[in-house]
């Protein structure tokens, strides 16, 4: 199976060659994800995080899986709802633009992404493309 990571997190871009790099903010990552879902990809990880702090993180990574055609309306609903919720929170709270904790946000986003990968590996047999061992220390 072919997987892609949609991300604006430099740590992810540097580690995984199957990253579709988004030169923009997390909303751009969500939009790119939506566009791919309308083509031939499906969601592997949920587009939102589990804590409001990470929902408003300046970086975001989402795993997608290539399929023939996505006819799953539930998935389209999930991504549209996520964009709406993100807009709502962003308008009210703004992005975390401050640079001083950027590395921390990137590291947590990376860690959560790795958890998603571990789940995929445990259920679909380790086909996830990893080009380097996890040796990033921070």
């Amino acid at each position: 199976m072919e997987y892609k990571i949609i991300s604006n997190n430099p740590m992810v871009k540097n580690e995984f060659e199957n990253t579709i790099w988004v030169d923009g903010n997390p909303k751009d990552v969500l939009i790119k994800t939506r566009d791919l879902l309308h083509q031939d990809y499906e969601l592997v990880t949920h587009p939102l995080n589990a804590s409001i702090k990470m929902v408003l993180s300046p970086v975001k990574s989402i795993i997608l899986r290539k399929i023939k055609e996505n006819k799953d309306l539930f998935q389209l609903e999930v991504i549209e709802d996520s964009i709406l919720k993100y807009d709502n929170l962003y308008i009210k709270n703004g992005h975390r633009k401050r640079k001083e904790h950027y590395k921390d946000f990137a590291m947590i986003d990376y860690t959560l992404l790795k958890s998603g990968m571990e789940e995929v590996k445990s259920t679909f047999g380790g086909e996830f493309l990893e080009i380097r061992n996890w040796k990033y220390s921070y």
Partner: protein, 428 residues
């Protein structure tokens, strides 16, 4: 399974030459505690302090809160699989230093966690303003990886609670509570006219600072599981979760889970409480569907007529919450959801990231975006500037005089989704 909880009421906390309880006053030998915690080679230094109810003291940024306890009858002691050898929690007798708490603080990453104010507006919102708090501030060795740092702080808090709890071993309790639940088969026969109710507790299970542990097992690698409520009340579940402060479930709150305690109160009178299903909130959609299917299957196998589901966190867990609700309601099982709301400062935004028509019985534990102003403290334990980087805080949250403006998001336990909190509803 029968568990006795012996509450020893703590009326004050002071530093002393020995760690003991005398006339309701908890004395703590801070040097001995520091030395025990420093046995972990990952910990370079430990600072301890005391914060008392009513003091104009602010604790920030808080990681976890733990209740000091000791097991005096039955197998084992401490937190099984984490601070002690494995044993089955939930039986025998456990003594609790009621009114005391261990609070861990410190920066693991540069954001998240929360505030405890011991007085005023902030104090009114957190249940931990009314406990005598032993604050443990861990400085790790240089260049410790964030995962190792988080584990060291988590275990230090649990070890400190076990060390302090030991002071209650030979003290007679002021109050004895007994928690005894029959087997599902026995209670179904015994209370055949009462509705059968299961509690489904959702747990954040996603990675660094977003984890929960059951008997030391990381909940993100498990399938939903049936667990006896006594096990939760007796230390089987601990928090490794330092996310949004208002709705993270601290270890203290797991030990005093309000949903379980209320269901126990109604058991055999209004309803038949069958037990608890713990289900992980995973990052993948397939994981969410699997957990939802598995949790609902357990609930149905138990023959439940009704279910109470509590959430942890905000954002993608909303998907799990509504998914479980849809499945259960479609199968004819009446479902009540407990969640907080992220409804914007004026309360007008959609509360959850997901909706479902089946979610028609929902208990709200408060709006996390509600804005509060916290006056300057006389004493700050920790780093007051951390507020700018907490969920609910922002640049400019802390003014020159030390006053904080922030959302409830930043206050520990303010909108607890298992109901262990102070926010309530007022009718007009």
């Amino acid at each position: 399974m029968k568990l006795e909880i012996g509450n020893i009421h703590i009326k004050d906390m002071v530093f002393g030459e020995r760690t003991l309880v005398e006339d309701g006053i908890l004395h703590i030998n801070e040097n001995e505690l520091r030395n025990i915690l420093k046995e972990d080679p990952r910990i370079m230094d430990v600072k301890v302090d005391i914060a008392k109810p009513g003091d104009k003291t602010r604790i920030i940024p808080v990681k976890d809160v733990i209740e000091p306890r000791v097991k005096t009858e039955g197998e084992g002691n401490g937190f099984p699989g984490v601070t002690s050898k494995m044993f089955e929690a939930g039986t025998g007798k456990t003594k609790v230093l009621k009114g005391a708490a261990v609070v861990t603080i410190g920066d693991i990453v540069g954001f998240q966690e929360g505030i405890i104010d011991m007085w005023g507006e902030g104090g009114a919102y957190t249940p931990f303003s009314s406990t005598y708090n032993l604050v443990v501030d861990i400085t790790p060795v240089k260049d410790l990886h964030a995962h190792e740092h988080e584990e060291a702080v988590r275990k230090a808090g649990l070890k400190a609670a076990s060390y302090v709890g030991e002071a209650g071993r030979h003290i007679k309790e002021d109050e004895l509570l007994v928690y005894n639940l029959e087997s599902v088969g026995d209670s179904t026969l015994k209370y055949k006219d009462l509705p059968k109710v299961v509690y489904v507790q959702m747990l954040i299970s996603q990675g660094l600072l977003h984890d929960t542990y059951i008997y030391g097992v990381d909940s993100k690698v498990m399938l939903p599981t049936f667990i006896h409520p006594n096990e939760i009340l007796d230390g089987a579940v601990i928090s490794g979760n330092c996310v949004a402060a208002c709705d993270k479930i601290t270890t203290y709150q797991h030990l005093n889970n309000s949903v379980i305690l209320d269901l126990y109160n109604k058991h055999g009178k209004e309803l038949n409480f069958l037990g608890v299903v713990m289900t992980p909130e995973l990052t993948t959609l397939e994981g969410k569907i699997r957990s939802c299917n598995y949790a609902t299957k357990i609930v149905k196998s138990l023959g439940a007529d009704g279910v109470i589901v509590s959430e942890e966190g905000y954002g993608n867990p909303d998907a799990d919450l509504l998914m479980i609700c849809r499945r259960l309601e479609k199968d004819g099982i009446k479902t009540v959801l407990i969640t907080d709301e992220c409804a914007g400062r004026d309360g007008s935004s959609q509360s959850l990231a997901d909706t479902a028509k089946e979610a028609k019985a929902v208990v709200s534990t408060g709006n996390v975006s509600h804005l509060v102003v916290l006056p300057a403290a006389d004493k700050v334990i920790g780093n007051p500037k951390a507020i700018e980087n907490l969920a609910g805080g922002y640049e400019g949250s802390l003014d020159e005089k030390g006053q904080i403006s922030c959302e409830l998001n930043a206050i520990i336990g303010a909108t607890s989704e298992i109901g262990y909190h102070n926010v309530t509803v007022k009718g007009y």
